[in-house]
Amino acid sequence: MIVAGVILVILVASVLFHLFTPWWMTPIAADWSTIDHTLRLTFWVTGAAFVAVIAFLGWCVYRYRHSETRRAHYEPESGKLETYLGIATTIGVVFLLAPGLVVWNSYIHPPADAAEVEIVGQQWNWFYRLPAEGGKLGRADARFVTAENPLGVNPYDPNSKGNLIVNGGDLHLRVNKPVKILLRSIDVIHNFYIPEFRAKMDMLPGSESFFWVTPTRTGTFEILCAAYCGTGHPFMRGTLVVESDADYEKWIAQQQKFTAMNEQKRGFAALPATGQEK
């Protein structure tokens, strides 16, 4: 009796907690509402399964609790029941998986017109690199890193010329413009995480990863690291500003060019002799 009652209380309390929780998704700031929809759908499907299974469990405990006169039913198998439940579960799984795969397919295919920005992590700072207007990002490798070239941009790649390097400043993005975010690290694994974007991806030393996103509202967002990267991990923060085209143009005009940076400090001479690409 008491046990069945407690199971019922757990069921009701869990559902009420879910309905009235103050801890829920942050207001979204990117067009990944498809991710949120899939998440909500998963809550509905799993919530229904949770209620059905726990309610049936509680009912069984109430209905078939021991008494002196009770004797259990003897029925080793019921093929029919097992088949029906197996089919129902399979349908539920397909119902969850199909939209998940569709969303993933769009997650890994950035639109062709997406702008590019590179994010580089280093314990425990964020660096950004943008191509010059109409240009491309030059190649990069940790072996090119020097004091003057903190991102390891390949100085022999013609595309590197004119790349804009943001060292220590905020990152700015245009609102409503898709952007492919290229990710790299020069020491340990980091993860570029803006909760309001929903999207994230690890940043690896030695290889490049990416995701893409279209910011949908202007404002200032906090960048966090979501992969444990050493004792400074909680303090690896950055700031993202999503703004209109006009404000963005103003910001980008102030950014420093890779060649300008290096000429000022005559950095080419300091390049390491190994690992150069001609």
Binding site: V3, Y64, A72, P76, E82, L101, Y107, L183, S207
Partner: protein
Amino acid sequence: MVEVRAGEEGFHPDDFEDEEVPHPRSWWTKYVFSQDAKVVALQYAGTAIFVGFIALVMSWLMRIQLAFPGALSFIDQDHYYQFITMHGMMMVVYVLTAVFLGGFGNYLIPLMIGARDMAFPFINMLSYWFYLLAVLILLSGFFLPGGPTGAGWTLYPPQALLQGTPGSQYGIVVMFASLCVFIAGFTMGGLNYVVTVLQLRAPGMTMMRLPMTIWGLFIATIMALLAFPGLFVASLMMLCDRLLGTSFFMPAIVQNGEQLAHVGGSPILYQHLFWFFGHPEVYIVAVPAFGIVADLLSTHARKNLFGYRMMVWATIAIGVLSFVVWGHHMFISGMNPLFGFFFATSTLIIAIPTAIKVYNWIFTIWRGDIHLNVPMLYSLSFIVTFVVGGLSGLFLGNVAVDVPLNSTYFVVAHFHMVMGIAPLLVIFGAIYHWFPLISGRMMNEKLALAHFWITFLGTYAMFFTMHYLGVLGVPRRYYELGQTAFIPPSVTSLNIFITVLALIVGAAQLVLVYNFIRSWRHGEVAARNPWRATTLEWQTPDMPPPHDNWGPQAPKVYRWAYDYSVPGAPRDYIPQNQPEARA
């Protein structure tokens, strides 16, 4: 040694000869260097529980830091990350794996299949001493300069090997060395369990008459034998990178403005190796729990296990599938994103046999005669927590839904619920269930009930609510959240709530220890077969069972393990070794 050709046509249990076991000659060989699987089991379980309490204290310290940042001044960042690393690795490998396979496996496999001991008793004893050595090497990290490693329990490179990570000098070396010794020791025990189940079953004990406990332990051991080598080679390669200057996992890295002497290695390769072990490991812990809980439910509901054959095949399916789902730990690791499709699909497929198991547990008590004693309560609480943890796994396994939740407290809540709390509740239920067999006495029921309600309700409230921190996006592995724009102050309130519960639930485990020790000496003397169970371990000539388990006559098996409430039978159970009622 007996050769069992179980299942062949025309055999009769009386055709088989008995086996002999080596008898101990001194106190040392009886209680310390014992080759008796029952003693080895208690050694394994005792050591694992000791390690478990160390890991529990570390979880307290972490929780105190999360709820009251800076309250304990000695918990600095280095210590915090050392605590999470050691808590995780200890609980997963040195506690849960060791308790289920080393503890319950050793105690129950020979008894429940009707054998006198393991197939290779000496190797079995050695397995425990390797395990103890692994534990000592692991704990030595606490006393070395720099302390144990603080690389996170997954020990990802390059982080784990780089200066600045706590314990990168010695801690990381003893961590991997300890894992290698553990795996060597486990392999000795594991081969034993498999061979014993295959070769030493009592006459008449066909595979399809094995209790689910044995199926769970058997499948989990096979999985462990196939999965642990992945961790073993990863550990050796990490040791080479750390000590010999190789670059298996280390690409070109710049640290503190200096180029390190590594180039070309792949950090992702380590993650593949680690999770090739790591995901089956989840089921290595869960599958024995599945088996044990099936037997507890059946025994205490006086009803046959529902869908035995389906349960066996679902367990085998889970075992096989668990080897092709590891990539769901790496959806946002930067591996080729096309893998996401495959691993999401395989992961959600594994939900189907798992769900079937849940249905069959509940259908086992449906139309039963449910005795709400302590083992049954623990079994019910296992179903509740496993359902929550299993369902939250459907979020993380479905690749697109994983993206926002990955690396948040949703993950922490999920895996604690599904592979921490749920299997632990089974361990507790199993302790109360088999304590009379091991000690010959009953445990105190009032203390057991207090322990049960605090543990179940406390852990449920902790980890159910914690999921929602992850939905909000609160990242895990943060020493302190500090000022973060999107995190409201109410998160601190929830963190305090969880921490207070963790302190209470942790302290309540002392009730179990007290009950265990007190009942061992002063408990009420147990009746023979106090739960009126069908399985062989309760049919021994003495309780606790003698050294060779069966005395003069080893058992012969005539029926499956679930003849409860058989229509027409005088009692509501028929032991497996009771011959067919012939006229």
